[in-house]
């Protein structure tokens, strides 16, 4: 079981040897990364079976918590580790000639695995920064100077976010004297005062920069507009979710209080409204997708504000759905970017790609048999069950957002099925791996439509298990700490 530390160590090691290997053979350097990720996938699968319905903690360096650093392993963290490995494999830069880019991708995956597994607040901060630095590097490495400027602006916003995260961590340490999340979960009463909640707000907004949270997301359109689509698929699909995982860990284990839920609910609603409004006015695919992605992360925060295992279940479902749909759409956008008017007649050039696109959009909007519908339905039902002014308002916001979304998405679909003009550019028909993966994503979406009920039952089990602080505490802390409490 302790071999799971390799998930983080192997990519980190590969990141450092790839430049050396590249001196001898660039082919070998190119294949090092995918091989490491495949090994990781195998490790994750074997751990998935071994963990079963339990949980496991790895004590690094043999120091027992709360002194040492802990990796916490259950199906929730393994699910995300699996997604990281497969997503990085899908967007691996096969045609890039530079070995440094491979190193950066490896650093990115090492940091992501660390974020998914770590159960120590400061360790999470370090991995978050590592992830951020790897991302700046990858963005700035693109061969155009607007990407450098976008990366710099992203760096300023994101570093300010990291400092806020650090400030939140400092406040928590002042209040409790520990940074181990399980240990923090045993002394929540110290943290539910004004200072503790402001620490949560700092952490949520700091990590929210990567999660495209409402006030701190001005980088989104700039970065996604300047980088290759595959990379946007990775950032929008996965990296944003990892920042949410950090917030989830703090929210569910330590800050199960109404004020924290209200904060997430309000930023979620503002994100939904602002994202949909800008997406509605967008004239090109990438801008539209960027802002619709902001709106969907807003929906995710609204789901989290339900709290407890129900909130976590909905959040996992929304994250998986958004990963498939938005990842797929960004991968598709490789084929048809540009002004919407140029997409006229696309359906006649390539009925297949128009159909795949339509599947994604229908699921995003929540048209019945597709998974998106069931998620939206469950979300609205749960919000209604909670009642209360803000929650009713959130239902209204979600439904309004659906209407706006339908307006611009169907407008686009209509354009695609119109007759081609003389000046509409024919589709970029060369073979691209990302289009194949997009088709695969659409297929997964259709298959999951058939298996909605077993999948949701499985996700509910995972959420029930992961949202329970008692299991977390008993897995991580040694018995003598628990003895003191009771």
């Amino acid at each position: 079981m302790n071999s799971l530390v390799l998930l983080m160590v192997l990519p980190l090691f590969a990141a450092f040897i790839i430049p050396v290997v590249a001196k001898f053979s660039s082919k070998l350097a190119l294949f090092t990364g995918p091989v490491v990720l495949c090994i990781n996938l195998l490790l994750i699968m074997s751990a998935w079976v071994k963990v079963g319905s339990g949980a496991h903690a790895i004590f690094l360096g043999g120091f027992l918590p709360p002194v040492g650093i802990v990796f916490y392993i259950d199906h929730f963290s393994l699910l995300f580790s699996g997604l990281i490995a497969s997503m990085v494999l899908i967007v691996w830069p096969w045609d890039a000639k530079e070995s440094r880019l491979y190193s950066l991708y490896m650093l990115l995956s090492a940091a992501s695995f660390g974020l998914a597994l770590s159960a120590d607040l400061f360790n999470l901060y370090v991995f978050y920064e590592l992830l951020a630095v790897a991302t700046y590097g990858i963005i700035a490495k693109q061969k155009n100077s607007s990407a450098t400027a976008a990366s710099l602006r992203y760096l300023f916003i994101s570093s300010a976010g990291s400092v806020m995260l650090l400030l939140g961590i400092a406040i928590i340490y002042t209040l409790t004297g520990t940074l181990n999340i399980a240990h923090l979960a045993t002394m929540t009463e110290n943290l539910h005062g004004f200072a503790g909640l402001s620490a949560f707000a700092l952490i949520a907004i700091g990590a929210g920069v990567k999660a495209e949270m409402f006030p701190v997301n001005s980088w989104v359109a700039e970065v996604y507009g300047t980088i290759p689509r595959q990379l946007s698929a990775l950032l929008a699909g996965l990296i944003s979710k990892l920042a949410v995982v950090l917030i989830i860990k703090m929210l569910l284990m330590v800050f199960q209080v109404q004020a924290a839920f209200d904060l997430l609910l309000v930023v979620g609603m503002l994100g939904v409204i602002s994202g949909e409004m800008v997406a509605w006015r967008a004239k090109d695919m990438i801008r539209m997708l960027s802002f619709s992605s902001i709106a969907h992360l807003g929906v995710l925060f609204i789901a989290l504000s339900i709290g407890g295992s129900k909130g976590l279940w909905l959040a996992i479902a929304i994250m998986l759905h958004h990963l498939l749909v938005k990842g797929g759409l960004f991968l598709m956008a490789d084929r048809f970017s540009g002004h919407f008017d140029k997409l006229k007649g696309l359906a006649h050039h390539s009925p297949m790609s128009a159909a795949v696109f339509l599947v994604f959009i229908l699921s995003l909007l929540g048209v019945p048999p597709l998974p998106g519908f069931w998620i939206k339905m469950a979300l609205v039902m749960n919000l209604a069950e909670l009642g209360g002014g803000l929650y009713y308002l959130a239902i209204g916001v979600i439904l309004l957002a659906t209407i706006i979304e339908t307006a611009y998405m169907f407008n686009l679909v209509q354009t695609m099925y119109l007759k081609a003009d003389a000046d509409s550019t024919p589709l970029n028909k060369r073979y691209s791996a990302s289009y194949t993966f997009a088709k695969l994503f659409a297929l997964l979406l259709l298959v999951s439509m058939v298996f909605v009920s077993p999948i949701s039952k499985r996700l509910k089990d995972i959420a029930n298990h992961s949202a329970n602080p008692q299991i977390y505490i008993h897995t991580v802390l040694p018995a003598r700490y628990l003895g003191e409490k009771s």
């Binding site: 400030l167 090109d284 008017d341």
Partner: protein, 149 residues
């Protein structure tokens, strides 16, 4: 009320003020280099708060000389954490500085507003649309069709 005027209270006040100054600078500065300096200040403030969390007045350095001297030690954990945070911070600032050089070379300006508007124009050009919210080109669709033919 009176614990605001202890040494710790004054130190906390200074550290938090420093980070607020940094955050304010990040929000209002337009020059790239000033933005970077504001980031440095913000980070210094946060690091000070973190190191203060383990501070005990009259505490000794956390080194065991003999087991029972009876003196109270400062908490060593925040000091280790701050060291890590400082190193990360320096790395990020160096990266930011190198990016600033490249941006300055390309755009010929250190003003964030200029760079942002140029960046938005470039993105819009790449996507084949007029820049969002631009007043200069009120008839977007016509203009682009004209350019293409």
């Amino acid at each position: 009320m009176n614990h605001f005027f202890t040494v710790e209270g004054i130190l906390y006040f200074g550290a938090i003020s420093l980070s607020i100054i940094g955050l304010f600078g990040l929000l209002v500065s337009k020059n790239l280099f000033r933005l970077l300096l504001s980031l440095v200040l913000f980070e210094a403030g946060a690091n000070l708060v973190l190191v203060l969390s383990g501070f005990i007045r009259n505490g000794i350095a956390p080194i065991f000389l003999d087991g029972n001297s009876g003196a109270v030690m400062n908490d060593p954990v925040p000091q280790a954490l701050v060291l890590t945070a400082i190193v990360i911070g320096v790395g990020v600032q160096a990266l930011a500085l190198s990016l600033i050089f490249r941006v300055k070379k390309h755009y010929g300006s250190m003003d964030m507003r200029t760079i942002r508007s140029k960046l938005e124009r470039e993105i819009a050009e790449n996507a084949g649309v007029t820049p969002p919210g631009s007043n200069e080109a009120p008839a977007p669709v016509k203009l682009i069709e004209g350019e293409n033919s």
